[in-house]
C-alpha cells in the first residue's frame, strides 16, 4: 500500500508539471503578452522595456523555468481587472465556496444514484429500473444553465420555497447543488447498476445465500461492497465534471465561487487570474484523483496488499 501510494504521489507531481506546461504554452499561444498589456499606440522602446521587465525577451525555456519558480512560490502576478490584488489570493478566497458547492453536489449525486442503481439491479427491468433510467437521462440531457433557470422559476419565483441566488444558508445551497449533481446521477447510477448486476451474479453471492444470509445483507453488504469499487474509477472524472459544472451554475445562481470569478476574468482578459484558476482547478482535480486512489486501497484488499 505504501509503495502504491508513493508511486501515485509521484505521478501526481508529474501531472501537475504537465499542467503548468500546458497553461504556460496556452498563455503564449494566445498572443504576445506584451501586446495584451500595452496600449495599441505604445512606442517601440516602451514595449522593449516592458518585455525586458517581465522577462519576455528571454528564450521560452528560461521563461518557463522562471514561471515554474513563481508558481512554486505561489506568485501568479497581480490581477489586471482589480489592480493591486494578487491573482492567487482572489482564487483562494473563493475556492472554499466552490468546493462547498461541489461537495454538496457530489453528496446529492451519490445519495440519489446509489439507491436507484442498487434497486435497478435488484429489480431489473422493473418500473423502478425504467423510471430511474428516465430521471437520470433527463439530468444528463438538459444543460446546467437551463435546469438552473427552470428551477429558479419553479422553486424560487412560483413556490417561493428557496432563495433565487447567492450564498448563505442551507437553502441557498440546495438548487445549485442539485443542478450540478443531477448531471452525474445518470452515469453513476448506470455504473452502480451494472456493477451490482455483475456482483449479484457472482459465485460469492451464491455462497452467501447458501450460508443462509438474509437477502438485505447479501445486497447491501456482500454485493455493494464489491460493486462500489467499479464506479470509483468514474469518481475522478466526475470531480472534473463537478468543477466544470460549477462554472455555468455559479453564474446562474450568482454563487460567489471560482466559477463566477473565472467567467469574469475571461471576459476582462485577466490573464493572471485565469492562469491561477486553471492551476488551482488542476490541483483540486489531481488531489481528488489521489484521494480516489487511496479509497481504492481502502475498498479493495487486492490493491491494498499488492
Amino acid at each position: 500500500m505504501l509503495r502504491y501510494l508513493t508511486k501515485r504521489v509521484g505521478q501526481t507531481i508529474f501531472t501537475l508539471f504537465a499542467v503548468t506546461l500546458i497553461v504556460f504554452s496556452l498563455g503564449r499561444l494566445t498572443g504576445d503578452p506584451a501586446t495584451v498589456l500595452m496600449p495599441v499606440e505604445a512606442r517601440q522602446e516602451d514595449r522593449a522595456r516592458i518585455m525586458q521587465h517581465w522577462g519576455l525577451d528571454q528564450p521560452l525555456h528560461i521563461q518557463y523555468v522562471r514561471y515554474i519558480g513563481n508558481v512554486l512560490r505561489g506568485e501568479f502576478g497581480e490581477s489586471l481587472q482589480w489592480p493591486g490584488r494578487d491573482a492567487l489570493e482572489l482564487v483562494l478566497l473563493r475556492i472554499g465556496n466552490t468546493l462547498e458547492l461541489g461537495l454538496a453536489a457530489l453528496l446529492f449525486a451519490v445519495a440519489v444514484a446509489v439507491p436507484i442503481g442498487v434497486f435497478s439491479a435488484v429489480y431489473k427491468n422493473s418500473f423502478i429500473d425504467h423510471a430511474g433510467k428516465f430521471i437520470a437521462l433527463l439530468g444528463q440531457s438538459l444543460p446546467h444553465f437551463w435546469i438552473g433557470i427552470v428551477f429558479i422559476w419553479i422553486f424560487a419565483v412560483n413556490l417561493r420555497w428557496l432563495p433565487t441566488s447567492g450564498r448563505g444558508t442551507w437553502a441557498h445551497l440546495i438548487m445549485p447543488a442539485v443542478v450540478i449533481g443531477w448531471f452525474q446521477v445518470a452515469a453513476l447510477m448506470r455504473l452502480i447498476r451494472s456493477a451490482m448486476l455483475e456482483a449479484l451474479d457472482s459465485e460469492y453471492i451464491k455462497l452467501a445465500r447458501l450460508k443462509g444470509v438474509r437477502e438485505r445483507v447479501v445486497i447491501w453488504k456482500h454485493a455493494l461492497r464489491n460493486a462500489a469499487i467499479v464506479p470509483l474509477t468514474y469518481f475522478g472524472i466526475m470531480i472534473a465534471y463537478l468543477v466544470v459544472g460549477s462554472i455555468t451554475t455559479e453564474v446562474v445562481f450568482s454563487w460567489p465561487g471560482v466559477g463566477l470569478l473565472v467567467v469574469n476574468a475571461v471576459t476582462a482578459r485577466d490573464f493572471p487570474v485565469v492562469q491561477a484558476v486553471t492551476i488551482v482547478f488542476a490541483f483540486v482535480i489531481v488531489l481528488a484523483n489521489l484521494i480516489v486512489d487511496v479509497l481504492y486501497g481502502v475498498l479493495d484488499p487486492r490493491i491494498r496488499f499488492e
Binding site: S202, E203, Y204, K206, L207, A208, R209, L210, K211, G212, V213, R214, H222, R225, N226, I229, L299, D300, P301, R302, F305
Partner: protein, 351 residues
Amino acid sequence: MPTTAAVQPHSRDRDPPAEVILDVKDLRTYLFTKRALVKAVDGVSFYLRRGETLGIVGESGSGKSITALSLLRMEPKPAGRIVAGEVWFQGEDLLRKSPAEMRRIRGRRISMILQDPQTSLNPVFTIGNQLTEAFTTARQGISRARLPQVVVEVLRKVNIADPERRVSTYPHQLSGGMKQRVVGAIAISCSPDIVIADEPTTSLDLTIQAQYLRLIRQLQETSGVGIIFITHDFGIVAKMCDRVAVMYAGKIVEHGPVRAIFNHPSHPYTQALIHSVPKLEERTERLYSIPGQPPAPGEALVGCRFAKRCEFADDRCRQEYPPVFAGRSGHQEHTADCWRLEDPTWRPSLR
C-alpha cells in the same frame, strides 16, 4: 425381495429404507428462457441416507448442478423455476417451505461447496469475517467472545496450517486449494446433516484434488454427514461414493451402488461413460469418446434422451421414454431407464 426386484421393472418411488434423510421425488426444474423452455431437471428422484455419499454423475449441461441448487431452492433466477416435485427432509417437504424457513435450512442443515474456489469467496472480506458470518447467521448461540476461537477451530478441522494467522487474510492471499478448504470450513461450520459438493475439486490441480478428497472423507467419518457429490469424473465416484446416480439431459438414467454400476453398467450411456475413463493398464491408440452431442438446451425431447447417440437404439427408444428396469447387477437398488433391459439376457457392450 432381491430376486423379484431383479426380474420385475420396479420404481424408485417405492418407500426407501428407514435411515433416509433426504428423499427427492420427481423433481422438475425448468428454465423459462426467451428462446426456449429448457427442462433442465426433468423428473428426478433419488434419496440420501445418513452418513452416506451419493454421487451424481453427468456431462456438463446434464442438469446435475441445477438439481443440487433446486434442493435448496436456489435454482438460477429469474429463468429457473421448480415446477413440480417433492424434496423430503426431516419429515418436511422443502418445496413447500417459505423463503424465510428455507434460509434457516441453508448453511445450518444443508450446506454446499461450490465448484470454483477462486470466485466463491467474497474478495473484500477476510476469511475470518466470512466464517464468522456463517456462525452468526445460523444463530448457533455462540457468544461473541468465543467466536474467534470457534472460527480457528473449524479452520483447523479442514487442515489449514496456522489458522490464527489465516483468519485475518483475504481470499486473494490464499492458494486455490486453501480457498476451497475455507469454503469447506464454511460448509461444515454449523454441523449440517447434508453437504452438497458441486464439483469441488474440478478446478484444483491433481495433487491438491487428492488431498481435498481425503479431507472430505475424513470429515465425513468424524461427523457422519451425508454428502451429495456432483462430478463428471467416474474416477472420483469410484473413490468417494457409496451410490451413484447417472444423469443425462435432465434425467437420472441409471442409479445404484457404485460397485454394482461399475461391474454391471446397464444403461448404454453409463457404459460409455465408464468406458471413456482412461485406464493406466491399457495403452490404447485413441481415447474413447461418445459419438454425437448431448441434446441442445430447449431441444424438444421425445423418447429416450440418449437414443440419438446410442448404438442400440430402435424406433421405440426414439418415441417413448423407457420405464425403470432393474439393473444387470441384480442388486435391489440398481435400476436403469433403458428399453433393452426388457430382454433379461441383454448386456450393453461397446466395441
